[in-house]
C-alpha cells in the first residue's frame, strides 16, 4: 500500500511578500534595490529557525527590474555557497526562488499571495487555517514582507533589546517611512518608531512644498484614515495612531497641502480599490465600484444632497463585512475623508464645480 501524503511530515516554506502595492509605499523596492542579500540572509535565518529548506520571493510584476536584481543576488549567493546544499558546511540546505506576480494588489494579501504562488487565481482563502498551519501547498509557511526579513540579520547580530531600544517602549525598533506628496524632499527614510509626524514632514522631508499650509496626511498608505493637519503633532507608532483611529500601515506617508481637494483624494483612492478589488465578495466588489461612481459624480458637480450621507453609509456597510481586508482598506479612508472633511464634500454638491479645480493641483 502506497504511503498517503498525510502520513509524511510536511515540508515547511519561507515566503517573502514583495508584492508591495499599497499606494504611497515603496520601502521594499528600496531594500531589494540596494541590498538584496540582506533579504536573502533574513530568509535563511527564518529557514533555519523553522527548519524550512525552500523560500519563495513573490515580487509584483511591475517590479520587473527588481526581479532581475533578486535573481542576480540569488545566483551570487549560490556561487558563494550561501544558498544550496550544505551551506557553508553547516549541513543546512536552502533554496531561494523568485516568483512574479501578475499585477494584482490583492496578491499582497497573504492568502491570495499563496494562491497566486500556487498558480491559481489570486483570491484570498478562508482562514483559519492560517499560513503558519496550512500555507503554501497546504504546508506550514512563514510569510512576512521584505522589511521584516531584512530587519532580521541586524536584530540577530545586535540583539532584540538593542533593536527595540531604537524606538519607544511599546513600539520598538525603526521603520521605513515613505514620504510622498507635497513635500520638498520626498523619499524613504528610516526613522525610529514614535518619531513625530510634524517633524518628519518639516525636518526630514524638507517641509511642505512651496511654503503652503499642511492640510492632511495619510499616515500609513492609502488604506489608512486621513489625519487633519491639527492631528499631525503625533508620534508615528502603532499605538499613537490607533488612538486617533488611524494606522501606521505600511509606512506610506502621503502629505497633502491646502490646495488639495479631499473629494478628489477620496476618489483617487477609491478608483484604486475599485480597480484592484478581486471580485470575490459582494460588498467589496460592488461597493468599491458604486463608491467610485458616486465620488466621481460628486467631484464633477453632479452630486445631490443625500450623496455625502450615502457615501458614508456605503463605506460603513463594507467595513468589517468583506472577505478580506481589501474592503476595509477601501472603506476606512472613505469614512475618514467624509467625517473629517464633510464641509468640503457638501461644497461640491448641487452643480458646484470643484473649488480646487482652478488651482493646478496634482493628486
Amino acid at each position: 500500500m502506497g504511503l498517503r501524503a498525510t502520513h509524511l511530515a510536511k515540508p515547511k516554506y519561507v515566503v517573502v511578500n514583495a508584492d508591495e502595492s499599497e499606494p504611497g509605499t515603496c520601502k521594499d523596492r528600496l531594500l531589494i534595490e540596494n541590498d538584496p542579500h540582506q533579504l536573502l540572509e533574513g530568509m535563511l535565518i527564518a529557514g533555519l529557525a523553522v527548519d524550512a529548506h525552500a523560500g519563495y520571493i513573490y515580487i509584483r510584476g511591475e517590479y520587473r527590474y527588481l526581479i532581475d536584481i533578486m535573481d542576480a543576488a540569488i545566483a551570487e549567493a549560490y556561487e558563494r555557497g550561501y544558498l544550496g546544499r550544505n551551506i557553508l558546511g553547516t549541513g543546512f540546505d536552502f533554496d531561494a526562488y523568485t516568483h512574479t506576480g501578475a499585477g494584482a494588489y490583492e496578491c499582497g494579501e497573504e492568502s491570495a499571495l499563496l494562491e497566486s504562488l500556487e498558480g491559481k487565481r489570486g483570491v484570498p482563502r478562508i482562514r483559519p487555517p492560517f499560513p503558519a498551519v496550512a500555507g503554501l501547498y497546504q504546508c506550514p509557511t512563514v510569510l512576512n514582507n521584505v522589511e521584516s526579513y531584512a530587519a532580521a540579520p541586524a536584530i540577530i547580530r545586535d540583539g532584540g533589546a538593542a533593536f527595540a531600544a531604537l524606538g519607544t517602549q511599546k513600539n520598538g525598533g525603526t521603520r521605513l517611512f515613505c514620504i510622498s506628496g507635497h513635500v520638498n524632499k520626498p523619499g524613504v527614510y528610516e526613522l525610529p518608531m514614535g518619531f513625530n509626524l510634524l517633524r518628519m514632514i518639516g525636518d526630514v522631508a524638507g517641509g511642505v512644498r512651496g511654503g503652503k499650509k499642511l492640510k492632511a496626511v495619510i499616515p500609513g498608505g492609502s488604506s489608512c484614515p486621513v489625519l487633519k493637519a491639527e492631528e499631525c503633532d503625533i508620534p508615528m507608532d502603532f499605538d499613537s495612531l490607533a488612538k486617533v483611529k488611524s494606522m501606521l500601515g505600511s509606512g506610506g506617508v502621503v502629505v497633502m497641502d491646502e490646495d488639495t481637494c479631499m473629494v478628489k483624494a477620496a476618489l483617487r483612492i477609491m478608483k484604486f480599490y475599485a480597480h484592484e478589488s478581486c471580485g470575490w465578495c459582494i460588498p467589496c466588489r460592488e461597493g468599491t465600484l458604486w463608491l467610485r461612481k458616486i465620488l466621481a459624480r460628486v467631484h464633477d458637480g453632479g452630486g445631490a444632497p443625500g450623496d455625502v450621507q450615502l457615501i458614508h453609509e456605503l463605506a460603513k456597510n463594507m467595513l468589517g463585512r468583506t472577505f478580506c481586508p481589501l474592503g476595509d482598506a477601501a472603506a476606512m479612508p472613505t469614512i475618514a475623508f467624509v467625517e473629517k472633511f464633510r464641509e468640503e464634500f457638501e461644497a461640491h454638491l448641487g452643480g458646484a464645480s470643484c473649488p480646487f479645480e482652478s488651482k493646478a493641483v496634482s493628486v
Partner: protein, 647 residues
C-alpha cells in the same frame, strides 16, 4: 463525532461537532440566507449574506464557514444582521439588470426571494449600470453576465461535482465574470448542472429559456428514461410538452444530479417522427388503422398461431416498467405457451445474483471507504454512479481504484490505476489484492467486460479479501435490471434473442420496445411480426403491425435502477394516439380471452446465464440507443456522439 450544545436565536440546539452554524441553524428550522453556500461544495464565504452575530466575536461572522462550538451564542435576526443583509442585497442589485419580468428565473429566483424578504424597498443606486451582452456557450448553456451575482456555485459544481472544470472566473472586481473553458464555448458534459445550481437567471438553458413561467407548468417527479442509474427528474410540462427537467429540490436517489439525458433528452417525446397511430402492413406499405382494428388483427393471428402450435418469439425491453415486463412474460409463458422470451442483456446480473453476492445500493457508493471500478467508463455510461463516487472521494476521502483499458475520468481521483488489455480485467483486479485487502470495506463495480465464469471468479476474489465487499453489475437501460428480475429471459427449451432472429420456423415475433434488427437480421421472413415502439425503427419497419407506445414519461409504473432501487414513474402528460405497453397487453389479453395465472415460477437465473449474449450497447453521455436518435438536444451538442475508451 460528539455533540455540542449551542444557542441560536435563543433556541437550545445540539449539533455534531464540526457542523457549520448555517447547517445547524437550518436543521433546527432557522433560516440563515446564503447565495454562495451550497451543501456539499467547497466553502466560499463570498456572498456575505450569512453574516450573523456571535457573542464575544468582535464583528459579524459568516455562518457558512463557522463550525459550532460548545456554548456558542448566535443571533441571526438582530438589527445589525438585518442591516448587513440589506446592505449586501443593495450592493448586489446595483449592477443587476432587474429584468425579472423577462427573466426565466422570475418566480423561482433566490435573489428575488432574498430581496423580498431581507432587501430594501427602493434603490439608492442612480449611476449607470454595467452591461454586457448575453452569450451562448453551447446549445444548452447561455450566460447573462449582468444577472450573475458571482456566487461561484457553477464553477464548483462543474469542477468538484462533475470532475469537469469547464467553468472559471476571468477579469477582476466588478468586471469579473464566469467564462467557459474554450474561449467562447463549452467543451464539457453539457449536463446543465451549472444552470440548475445558479441561484439567479445568469445561466439559462437552451431548451427552457423564454418558453414558459415556472408557475404555468405542471411538475411531475418521475424517473429518467435513459440509462440504468435511475435518477429522479422533475418534468415541467405545459400543453402536453416537456419544457424542462431538473431536480432542484435534491430529492430522490440522485440529489441535484442529472446529466444531459435526464435534463434535456426528454425532447424525443415530441419528435415529429413519433408514431401516433397503429400501422398495418398492406400491399402499398404501412397503413394507419384504429387501435381496435390493430388489436383485433393481432389477437386473431396470435390465437390462430397458438391454436396450431406455432412458434412464438417474444423480445422485451430495457426500458419498459416492471409491471409491463411481468405482464409480458406471463402472456408469453402462460398465454402463448412459449419459453422463447428474452431481451438485450447488457450486463451479467444473472451470474451475480446466482453467485449470491451482496449488492451495493446507490447510497453505498457515497459512503464506502473504497471503490473498485472494473472495465467501465463510468462518467460516460453511469454518470450518477460516477458523481456519487466523486462526492465520496471529496467528502470522505474514499479510496478509488480503476481497472480499465484506457483513460477514464475516475483515474483523476484514483489511488491506483491498472491498465489492462481486453480480457485482462480479472488479472488486473488480482494485482490489487494486497491493497484492497487493507481497506475496511469495498464496493466493486463491473461492466460487460466481466461476465459468465468471470463474475463468479470476481465474487470469489471479493470474499477472499476478508473484508465486506458489495457488488454492482453495470447495466444499460432504465429498467434493464427489471427485465432480468421480472423474467424477460428464456426458459427451458426456449430460444434466446439471437436464436429467435435466426430461427427459420418462427411463426410470430413480438417485439416490445426493442430494436434487435439494428444488430441482427431476421431470417424468418414469413413470421408475423408485431412491434410496440415510439418510432419507426429498423425493427418496426420490418413489422406486420406496429403499435405506437407511450414512453416512460407518459406512463406510470415502477422501474428498478442498476443498484436495485425500485422507483415510481409518474405520468407527466399524454401523447395522443399512443398507449402504454401495459394497456396494450391488457387489450390483447381481453381480445384473446386469455386467463393468466397470478404468478409464474421463473426459470432459475443461473440457468439463463450466457456470456455470449451479454454486451453493453456502449452508449456515451450523448447517445441513448433509439431514443437518443430522436433527441434534438443530444444531437445538437458538438460533443456528441462522444466515445468510450474501449473499442
Amino acid at each position: 463525532m460528539a455533540n455540542v450544545k449551542l444557542t441560536i436565536d435563543g433556541k437550545q440546539i445540539e449539533s455534531p461537532a464540526g457542523t457549520l452554524v448555517i447547517e445547524a441553524a437550518r436543521r433546527s428550522g432557522i433560516e440563515i440566507p446564503g447565495f454562495c453556500y451550497y451543501e456539499g461544495l467547497a466553502l466560499q464565504a463570498a456572498c456575505r449574506m450569512c453574516l450573523v452575530e456571535v457573542e464575544k466575536a468582535p464583528k459579524l461572522m459568516t455562518a457558512c464557514t463557522l463550525p459550532v462550538v460548545e456554548g456558542m451564542i448566535v443571533r441571526t435576526e438582530t438589527p445589525q444582521v438585518a442591516q448587513a443583509r440589506k446592505g449586501v442585497l443593495e450592493m448586489l442589485l446595483t449592477n443587476h439588470p432587474l429584468d425579472c419580468p423577462v427573466c426565466d428565473k422570475g418566480g423561482e429566483c433566490e435573489l428575488q426571494d432574498m430581496v423580498f424578504r431581507y432587501g430594501a424597498g427602493e434603490s439608492r443606486f442612480v449611476e449607470v449600470k454595467q452591461h454586457a451582452d448575453e452569450r451562448q456557450w453551447s446549445p444548452v448553456v447561455f450566460y447573462d453576465k449582468p444577472r450573475c451575482i458571482l456566487c461561484f456555485r457553477c464553477v464548483r459544481i462543474c469542477a468538484e461535482g462533475m470532475g469537469v472544470g469547464a467553468l472559471g472566473v476571468v477579469s477582476r472586481g466588478a468586471a469579473s465574470e464566469i467564462a467557459p473553458n474554450h474561449e467562447d464555448r463549452l467543451e464539457c458534459d453539457e449536463c446543465g448542472m451549472c444552470i440548475d445550481i445558479c441561484p439567479v437567471g445568469a445561466l439559462t438553458s437552451g431548451t427552457y429559456r423564454y418558453q414558459t413561467r415556472p408557475w404555468e407548468m405542471e411538475h411531475a417527479g418521475t424517473v429518467c428514461a435513459h440509462c440504468a442509474d435511475g435518477c429522479k427528474t422533475t418534468l415541467g410540462v405545459r400543453n402536453q410538452q416537456i419544457h424542462r427537467a431538473n431536480n432542484r429540490d435534491r430529492s430522490g436517489i440522485n440529489g441535484e444530479f442529472l446529466c444531459i439525458k435526464g435534463r434535456y433528452a426528454g425532447d424525443f417525446t415530441h419528435h415529429p417522427d413519433r408514431l401516433r397511430s397503429p400501422l398495418v402492413r398492406g400491399a402499398a406499405g404501412f397503413e394507419p388503422v384504429t387501435w381496435a382494428e390493430a388489436i383485433k388483427l393481432i389477437a386473431e393471428r396470435f390465437s390462430e398461431i397458438r391454436a396450431r402450435g406455432g412458434a412464438f418469439g417474444v423480445i422485451g425491453s430495457n426500458h419498459t416498467t416492471n409491471e409491463e415486463n411481468e405482464c409480458l412474460q406471463r402472456i408469453a409463458r402462460a398465454g402463448l405457451g412459449t419459453e422463447s422470451i428474452d431481451h438485450h442483456r447488457t450486463g451479467d446480473l444473472a451470474s451475480l445474483i446466482a453467485a449470491g453476492a451482496p449488492q451495493a445500493a446507490i447510497a453505498d457508493l457515497y459512503t464506502a471507504k473504497a471503490v473498485l471500478i472494473v472495465g467501465s467508463d463510468l462518467s460516460q455510461q453511469h454518470p450518477l454512479l460516477a458523481f456519487q463516487i466523486r462526492a465520496n472521494w471529496r467528502h470522505h476521502q474514499a479510496r478509488v481504484f480503476t481497472v480499465r483499458r484506457g483513460p477514464v475520468r475516475e483515474d483523476k481521483i484514483a489511488a491506483r490505476i491498472v491498465s489492462v488489455e481486453p480480457g485482462g480485467e480479472l488479472a488486473g483486479v488480482e494485482s490489487l489484492r494486497e491493497e484492497l485487502a487493507k481497506e475496511p470495506e469495498l464496493v466493486i463495480l463491473f461492466g460487460d467486460a466481466v461476465k459468465g465464469e468471470a463474475v463468479a471468479r470476481l465474487v470469489r476474489f471479493g470474499s477472499s479479501l476478508g473484508v465486506l465487499v458489495k457488488f454492482v453489475c453495470l447495466l444499460d437501460g432504465s429498467n434493464s435490471r427489471g427485465a432480468v428480475e421480472r423474467g424477460l429471459l428464456p426458459g427451458p427449451g426456449g430460444l434466446a434473442l439471437p436464436g429467435m432472429m435466426t430461427a427459420e420456423n418462427l411463426d410470430a415475433l413480438w417485439v416490445v420496445g426493442a430494436n434487435p434488427l439494428q444488430r441482427y437480421n431476421c431470417t424468418a421472413n414469413s413470421a408475423f411480426v408485431v412491434v410496440q415502439e415510439l418510432f419507426l425503427t429498423e425493427t418496426a419497419q420490418a413489422a406486420s403491425v406496429v403499435l405506437p407506445a407511450a414512453s416512460a414519461y407518459e406512463k406510470s409504473g415502477t422501474v428498478t435502477s442498476v443498484c436495485g432501487e425500485t422507483q415510481r414513474l409518474r405520468q407527466a402528460f399524454e401523447v395522443p394516439g399512443t398507449k402504454p405497453d401495459l394497456e396494450i397487453f391488457r387489450l390483447l389479453v381481453r381480445e384473446m380471452r386469455l386467463t393468466l395465472p397470478d404468478a409464474i415460477a421463473l426459470p432459475p437465473l443461473a440457468a439463463t446465464a450466457n456470456p455470449d449474449l451479454i454486451w453493453s450497447a456502449g452508449d456515451t453521455l450523448f447517445t441513448s440507443g433509439t431514443l437518443g436518435r430522436y433527441s434534438e438536444m443530444l444531437n445538437a451538442v458538438h460533443e456528441a456522439p462522444g466515445e468510450l475508451y474501449h473499442g
